[in-house]
Symmetry: C2
């Protein structure tokens, strides 16, 4: 499996709007086993996305999906910066869906 | 919902053993919607755990579960340090189980 833990810094007051855009664009991605969007509880300009894929290839392919491309296009103006992007190797747990 | 993204620094060569202990002790926790254990892809002494709970209360209650207490007891000797503990407010995504 392939995983990512990513931080996004959002333009002020735009977090909810960006979250809606991301949620809309990421609900049907082949090979995705988990994709969870979170607000940072302490910083109102920060979003965290934790992802698990059946392979790095599936993750890369998802970036070309029309729905993801549309979300990136719509959401880009609200993104101030990308913070840490931690690459992981998920090994198990609870909440890993079938690909 | 309540979430955590946590980093654990592991004694050298003990990561796989600690992962097994954590997996064994965390498979049946009331209120848990997602609990995923990952190796850091770049650092072989680091584990990441991403968690989603239906409430902070459920998370706190889980720490007293016999299985979690046993895992903490068994795993503690292999833990060198706890890194970032990021508190989040999960808002949605894919792979959030029913509580």
């Amino acid at each position: 499996m392939y995983g990512l833990i990513g931080k996004i810094i959002v333009q002020s007051e735009k977090r909810d709007e960006l979250i809606r855009i991301i949620l809309d664009g990421t609900d049907n991605m082949p090979g995705c086993l988990s994709y969870i969007i979170c607000k940072d509880a302490m910083n109102d300009n920060t979003i965290w996305i934790t992802e698990v894929w059946d392979s790095k290839k599936s993750h890369q392919a998802s970036l070309s999906l029309p729905s993801v491309q549309a979300a990136l296009g719509k959401g880009r103006p609200f993104i101030e910066d990308f913070g840490e992007q931690i690459e992981t190797v998920p090994v198990g747990g609870y909440g890993l869906m079938k690909a």
